[in-house]
Symmetry: C5
Subunit: 296 residues, 5 copies
C-alpha cells in the first residue's frame, strides 16, 4: 500500500484489521504506531492528535449493545487519503458507505468531506440518545412520586452513573470537535471549517442536554426520598392516631374490669351503656381533634 | 433578492420562511446553508458566528407557551442589510416593528441599531421572567414551611429543573452577547458597542439572579425536608407521650383485674377510689415530666 | 455645566438627580446615557466601565434598611472632575463629605483620591457586616444543637440565601476593584494604585470571610438536622423502652385476669404477691438490660 | 562519579541510597540538593522540575502494601545520563531492568527512552488498579441494595476517601506527564514526544475513570441510605398494621371483661361466639384495608 | 534609621513595634504606609506585594493559642536589608534567630536566605498541623461509627469549619509562595529560587492534604448520620418485634378475661394450660418468623 498518486484519492475502510493489514498501513501511509495502537484499543476515549502529514482522531457513537455504551471509529485523515478503522461494523455508518459509493467524487475529492460525514453521523447518535434519555428520566421521576420502590432507586442510581459515563465521553468528543475545527492543517481545507464547527455545535448541545438529564436524575432521586419520607410520615400518623384513640379506651375498660367489690354504677343497668357512651364520645372527640390538627 | 445598492438599506423580516424563500436568501445575500439550518431548527440554543460579510446570531426570549420555555430569533447582520428570522411571530417584537416603521431612518441607517433593539427586547423578557420566578420561589418556600405536601415537593423539583434549563439558555445567550460586543466587524460600528455591552450587562445580571433563584429552590427543598422531619418528630412525640401515660395505667387496671381471691383493698369500699387516685396521680406526674422535658 | 478650567477641579455630588439635572451632566461633562441609566437603576450590581475621558463605576455598601440589603453609589471619575451619584443620602459617607469640606485641596487636587476615599468607606461597610454575620451564625449553630425548632431552620435557610446574595454582590465589587487598580487611565495617577489595591485586598478578604459564613450556615443546617434526628432517636428509644417493659406486664396481668375456674395459685393468699413480685423482677430486669445496651 | 564521556551513556539505579552515595551523585552529576531531598522524602507527591542540565521528576504507581497506597520513583534525566531512585525495589520495574539488560543500546542510547519505559510501567499500575476498583465498587453497590449493614457503609466511606487520595495523586501525575511532553529540553529528543504524550493520555484516562469510581461510590452510599430508609418504612408498616389490628380487638375483649352485672349477651350461649366472630370480621377487614392501601 | 551602607546588611526584628518605631521604619527604609498597616492588622491573611525597592509579604503559621488558629509574620525584603515584624514573639522562630546569631554572614549576606529560612519554618508548622489533623479526623470517624453522640457531631462540624478556615489561609499562602518564586526582583537572587519553589511545593502539599482532611470530615459526618439511622432502625425493630409478639397474646388473655357465662374450656382444668400453651407457641412462632426475616 502506498499514498495515492497526485490527483488521486484513497479511502481505506479497515474493519478489525489483522496485524498484517496494520503493518501495511504503517508501512504504506506512515501511520504512527502509537496512534494505531490507540485505534485498536477497545473503548479508547475520543482523542485528537495532529501528525506531520495527517490528523488522527477517535470519535464515539452510542450503541446499546456495546459494553461501555458506545462504539468508536478511528480516522486517519490526510490531504489525499483517509483511513477509517472499526472493530465491528457500525450500522449507523452504512448510509455513509452507500452515499460515497453512489457519488465517490463528491466525498472523496476532499477526504475531509468524508470525515465530516462520518463525524456527523457519529454525533447524530448522541442526539437521538439524549432525546430518549430525557423521556426515560421524566418517566422515572413520575414513578418516584407515585409509588417509590427500591427497584426505582436502583434504576435511578444506575442511570445516573451511566449518564456520568456518557457525559465524560461526550466531553472528550466535544474537545476533539473543538480542536478539529480550530486546527489549520493541509488536510482541512478552509471551506470545510463551518461544517466541522457545526459538528462541534451539535456535540456541545448534546453536552448541555446531558446536564439537563443529570438534573432530572437528581430530581428523581430527591423525589424518591421525599416520597419515602412522606409515606413514612403517613404510616406513623396512622399508628399514632390508632394508638391514641384505642389506648384510653383500653384503660377505661380496664378500670371496669377491676375486681373491686364496689365500683360506681357496677350494679346499675345503665352503667354499661354509660361507659360505652363515654368511650364513643372520647373516640369521636379524638378523631375530631386529629382532623383539626390535620393528621387525618 | 440581492444586497442593497450603495447607500441603501435592507431589512428582511422572515417568519417561518418556505424552502423557496430560503433559497432566495442564500442566493441573494449569500447566507451560509448551515447558519440557515440552525436558524430553522426549533429550539436551537443561542449561538454566535462570524462570516466574511455578515454576522449570524440566535437569541432567545422566554415564552410560557413554548414547549422549551423560550422562543428564538435568528439574525443575520451585515453592514447594510439585516435578516431577522422567526418560526412564529413574537408579540414582544411588535413594538420593535412599530418603532422601525415610524422612524425607519433611525433604525435602518445602521442595521446594527435594529439588531440591538431586537436583542434588547429579547433580553428584557428574561429580566421580567426572573423577577416573576423570584416571587414564585419565595411563595414556595413559605408553603414548604407551613404545610409540607407531596405536591409542593413536586413543584419545587420541577421548578428547579426548569431553572436549570433556563440557566443553560441564559449562559449561552450571555456568551453570545459577550462575543458580540467584543467583535470587530464592519457590521458593528464603534458607537454601537456600549449598547451591545449594555445588553451583555443585562443578561449577565439575569444570570446572577437565576443563581439566586436556584439558591431559593434549594432552600425550599431543605425547608420541605426539615418540615417533614419536624412533623414526624411531633407525631412520634405524641405517640410516645400517649403510650407512656396509658400503658402503666393499663397495667394497674390489669393488676386489679386479676382473679386472685385476695388482693389488697379488694373488698374495701375505698379501694377503688385509691386505685383511681393513684392512676390520676401517675398520669399527671407523667404529663408534668413530659412538660419538663419539653416534649409537650 | 461644563468641565472645570485648567488647574481647577470639580466635584458634583448628585443625590436623586432629576431628569433635568441628568441632562446637564450629560451635556456638560459628556457622560454616556447608558452609564447614567445604570447609575439610576435601583439595585444595579457593582460595575466598572472605562470611557474615553472618564471611568464609570458602581459600588455597593451594606444597608440593613435597603430592600436588597445593600445601597449603591455611582462614580464618574475623570482627570479633573468627579461625579458621585446616590438615590438616597448614605450616612456612611457623611464623614467623607466632612473631610473633603475641611480639606478640599487634599482630596480634590486629584479626584481619584476622593474616589478612593468613597470606595474605602463603602468597603468598610462590608467588613463590619461580615463580622456581625460571623457572630450571628455562631449563635445560630449553638441554638441548632441545643434546641432545634422549625423557626431556627427558617432563619438558617433565610440567612443562607442572603449570604448568597451578598456573596454575589461582593464578587462583582471585587471584580470592579480588581479592574480598577489594574487600569491605566489618565484619571488614575500611579501613586493612587497601591491605595486602590488596598481596597481590592479588603473586599477580597470580605469575600473569603463570606465563604466562612456560608460554611458556618451549612454547619448550622447540618447541626439542626442532626439534632432533630438525635431527638427522634431519643423519643423512639423512650417509647420502645416503655412498651417493652409494660407490654409483658400487661400480658401477665391479662393471664391472671382470665376467667378459668382453675389457674395456678388463684386461691392461694400468696399468689397475688408472687405475681406482683415476678412483674417487678421482670420490669427491673428489662431496665437493667436497657441500661446495659445503653438505651437509657 | 562523573558525567559519562562524550558518546557514552550512564544509568544509575539507586535503591535507598546512603548519604554517602547521595553526596557522590550531587558532586558527580550536579543534582540539586533540594531535588534529592524530595526524591528521598517518603510519599512525596508526583513532581516535575527542570534544571539547567537535567530534568527531575517523581512518579507514583499503586502498591497495596504501601502505607499511602502508592510507591514512588524519582528520575533525574539528562541528555546522556539518567538516575532512577527508589526507597524499596518495585516488582513492577523488574521487567524494565531485564529489558534494558538484554538490549542496553536500544534503551540507553537515548536515556529518555528508558525514562519513558519506566513511566509507562508506573502508569500501567494505575490502569490495573482502576479496573479493580470499578469491579469492587459495583459489588459494593449491589450489597448496599440487598442487605445494608453498618460495615458496608464503613467500607464505602473508607473506599471513597482512598479514591479521593488516589485522585489527588493521579492529578499530580497527570500534570507531571503533561508538563513533560510539552517541555523543550535537550534531554527530550523530538521523536520521544508522541510516546510521552501517550503516557499522558493513559494517566488522563485513569483520571477520568476515577471520576466514574467516585460516582459509583456516591451511588453506593445513596443506595445504602435508601435501603436503610426503605427497611425502616417496612418495619414501621408492620408495626402499624399489627397495632391497628390488635388494639381494637383488645378494646372489644376489654369491654366484655368489664364487671357490670348486665351487659348485652352476657348470659347468652352465643354471645361469646358473636363477639369472637365480630373480632375476626374486624381483623379481616383491617387486613383487607391495608392490602388495598398497599401497606401489606 | 537608614538603609545600610554599600556592602553592609541590616536585619530589623520588630516585635509589636510602637507608632514611633514604625515611623522610623517608614522614614528610614521607605516602607509604604499601607503595607505597614497590613503588617500591623491582627489576622491579616497571607499577602504578597512588590514595591520599587523591596518586597512585602505576610505569611502565617498555625498556633493553637491564637484566636484565628494561626499567627502571622510580615517580611519586608530588599536587596540589602530585611524587616521581620511580629505582634507577639513566635516560639517557632526562636531557632531561626539562634541560627542567624551563630552564623550571621551566611544568612544576612543575602537577606533573601533569611527570608526563606523564616518562610520554611512557618510552612513547617502547617505540615505538622495537617499531620495531627489527619489522625484526629480518623479518630472522629471511628467514634462516629461506634457510638454516635451529639457531641461527636458538634466536634465534626466544628472541625470542618476550622479546616475550611485553615484551607483558605493555606490557599492564600500558597498563592503568596507561588508569586514569590516567580518574581524577578533584585531582592531575590537566582540561586534562591529553587528554595522558594521548595517552600511552594510544601505548602501545595499541605493544601492537598487538607483536601484529604475535609474528605475525612465529610466521611465522619456521613458515618455519624448512617450510625444514627442504623440505631434508629434497630430500636424500631425491637419495638415492632415486642409489640407484634405481645399484642396478640394480650388479645388472647383478653378473650378469656371476658365475662361470658360460657366460653370454651372455661370450666375445664386443662383449659388454662391449653391457652398458655397456645400463647407460648404463638410467641415462639413469631420469634422464629422474625429471625427468618432477619429482624432479630
Amino acid at each position: 500500500m502506498h499514498p495515492p498518486a497526485k490527483g488521486e484519492r484513497l479511502w481505506v475502510e479497515a474493519i478489525a484489521p489483522s496485524g498484517e493489514e496494520c503493518s501495511l498501513l504503517v508501512g504504506g501511509l506512515g501511520l504512527h504506531e502509537l496512534a494505531l495502537e490507540d485505534a485498536l484499543t477497545p473503548g479508547h476515549p475520543p482523542k485528537y492528535e495532529t501528525f506531520d502529514g495527517y490528523l488522527f482522531l477517535i470519535a464515539h457513537t452510542p450503541d446499546r449493545d456495546a459494553e461501555e455504551g458506545t462504539r468508536k471509529i478511528a480516522i486517519f485523515l490526510a490531504k489525499d487519503w483517509v483511513v477509517t478503522m472499526l472493530r465491528v461494523p457500525l450500522e449507523r455508518l452504512d448510509t455513509v458507505s452507500a452515499r460515497v459509493q453512489r457519488d465517490p467524487d463528491r466525498y472523496l475529492q476532499t477526504p475531509a468531506v468524508l470525515a465530516h460525514l462520518v463525524l456527523d453521523h457519529m454525533t447524530d447518535g448522541f442526539e437521538q440518545l439524549v432525546e430518549d434519555l430525557r423521556e426515560e428520566v421524566e418517566r422515572m421521576e413520575d414513578e418516584a412520586y407515585e409509588r417509590p420502590r427500591k427497584a426505582h432507586m436502583e434504576a435511578i442510581l444506575e442511570q445516573r452513573q451511566e449518564a456520568g459515563r456518557l457525559a465524560r465521553t461526550v466531553r472528550s468528543q466535544r474537545d476533539v470537535s473543538a480542536a478539529l475545527f480550530r486546527t489549520v492543517h493541509p488536510a482541512l481545507p478552509k471551506k470545510i471549517q463551518p461544517y466541522l464547527r457545526d459538528v462541534y455545535d451539535h456535540i456541545l448541545r448534546v453536552h448541555e442536554q446531558l446536564e439537563g438529564v443529570r438534573d432530572g436524575l437528581n430530581a428523581a432521586r430527591d423525589a424518591y426520598m421525599a416520597s419515602v419520607n412522606t409515606r413514612l410520615n403517613e404510616v406513623m400518623r396512622t399508628l399514632t392516631v390508632i394508638a391514641t384513640i384505642m389506648m384510653p379506651l383500653g384503660v377505661i375498660t380496664g378500670v371496669y374490669g377491676m375486681n373491686f367489690e364496689w365500683m360506681p354504677g357496677l350494679h346499675s343497668d345503665t352503667g354499661f351503656w354509660l361507659v360505652i357512651g363515654t368511650m364513643f364520645a372520647l373516640g369521636a372527640g379524638m378523631v375530631a381533634f386529629f382532623r383539626w390538627r390535620e393528621w387525618l
